[in-house]
Symmetry: C2
Subunit: 248 residues, 2 copies
DNA sequence: TGAATAGTGTCTATAAGACAATATCCC
DNA sequence: GGGATATTGTCTTATAGACACTATTCA
């Protein structure tokens, strides 16, 4: 044991950082959009073993000098070209055999983006694709989710990424109840119906229209812009904007 | 790039697991109890630099062949002698400079135990102590919490562990609203008043007694045992028990 | 004018807060 | 009996769901 009276400086200089085996640490980012009646996620095709040709959540190894949040933001930018979107840590997956190569601990994040940004992600090289999520459980039960491509065909998922996607869905559903998460999935201006559709898409169940309107308007997080929809073939709805809660 | 046509077996055999620098991964476990009108946590005294003589959340490095959950259970058993208690992952802390020795990513867990088990933890060697948590923010605002010892004196906290403790408090407060978390902090049998006191201790605010009783009895998670308190100096209250929800 | 959806008003059912009255134990 | 808390019942208020009705736009 070291001499307790030595200074902290001396101790740090003599510390042997390599004395333990260390796992690899990866950061995976679930990029979620809510539109067309379903949740969607961005997946990347694996071009290497293990799981060659299966689809995975975008990720990468954390660098020694960057925080986990910074690693997630870097992956979001590099793999999807997204900046400044909602990004939050989800869960850390650490089963010893989740990656057959070596011990990899994955810190999962999830990002929420509006439809325009989601659809704007470059998928032209066939190695990045949007997947529609098929959630086989109600409410916040939890569990893996299935992914289908634009043609409705199931997509094979690599590693434990079905579980990561499932947990992201569970988390977003949970946040709906007490947090203005819907705004992250919408553009700056939106109608109350847009907001309701996002809530229904995320939760998977329909809500009462009148009650939803009242609740949202009473929440104090919405602000009418004074503008209205255009060219909609029916009475145009008022456009609203999210107010950042200044007082917490 | 590797030849995509090689088999997965061949690829795994040739994979070089040591090609990247890897951070150390630790698991820290916040052990929480709710009694005497405050939340309490178990802390251990640091006997090494950095943070010599400061107090830290019990933790240890994850082994290469154990899951994160297993590492947390091992730490809970080794440091506090606790088995079979509620244990859940909290958050992963990964700031590059959170430990001055080397890059250490900490996967934080929190455990909830009833008062008898909490008080039963061996603190006789002066290296383990119970801390009363002083939460300086309302509701689920979040932020660091202060720790005071049995004599009411502030305890210096090592690393970013004030933040870990603060996040554990925030998480437990959040779970109160939609999850039977109070039961984890109580023994098998308890009165409605016991349950109310735990809720008030965790949340930091008083609740309406009548409404609380009705809500709990209507929740379907409580079962009357038919037994009553003994030797209490007033009308004894009925004892209840938690029913595990069989149907989800 | 008609189709379609936006937005308002009202009634009812449910849950929460407040408060009073009664019950039951130990001393 | 007195002190203390448990338990029940009722009234009031706030919110959610249901439904009817009016408003506004484009084709």
């Amino acid at each position: 044991m070291s001499d307790k009276r030595q200074s902290e400086r001396e101790f740090l200089a003599s510390y042997d950082a390599s004395q333990f085996d260390r796992p690899s640490v990866a950061v995976d980012v679930v990029i979620l959009g809510a539109f067309a009646g379903a949740l969607h996620a961005i997946l990347v095709k694996r071009t290497e073993h293990p799981g060659l040709n299966a689809w995975a959540v975008p990720g990468g190894f954390v660098r020694m000098d960057e925080s986990l949040d910074a690693a997630a933001a870097r992956i979001l930018s590099d793999k999807a070209g997204l900046e400044g979107v909602f990004l939050e840590q989800l869960y850390t997956f650490g089963a010893p055999d989740r990656d057959p190569r070596t011990r990899v601990i994955a810190v999962a994040y999830y990002a929420l983006v509006d439809e325009a940004r989601f659809q704007g992600i470059d998928t032209s090289d066939q190695l990045v694709a949007a997947a529609r999520l098929d959630v086989p459980w109600p409410g916040e039960t939890g569990g893996p989710v299935q992914c289908v491509n634009a043609d409705g065909e199931p997509m094979p998922i690599a590693f434990d990424h079905e579980d990561i996607l499932g947990l992201a869905v569970k988390r977003v559903r949970g946040r709906l109840n007490y947090s203005p998460v819907g705004f992250q999935l919408l553009p700056d201006q939106f109608t109350l119906r847009d907001l309701q559709e996002v809530h229904e898409t995320v939760s998977g169940v329909g809500v009462n229209k009148d009650s939803f309107r009242r609740r949202m308007l009473a929440s104090g997080t919405l602000e009418a812009t004074g503008e209205r929809q255009r060219d909609v073939g029916h009475r145009p709805a008022e456009l609203y904007r999210f107010i950042r809660r200044s007082a917490v």
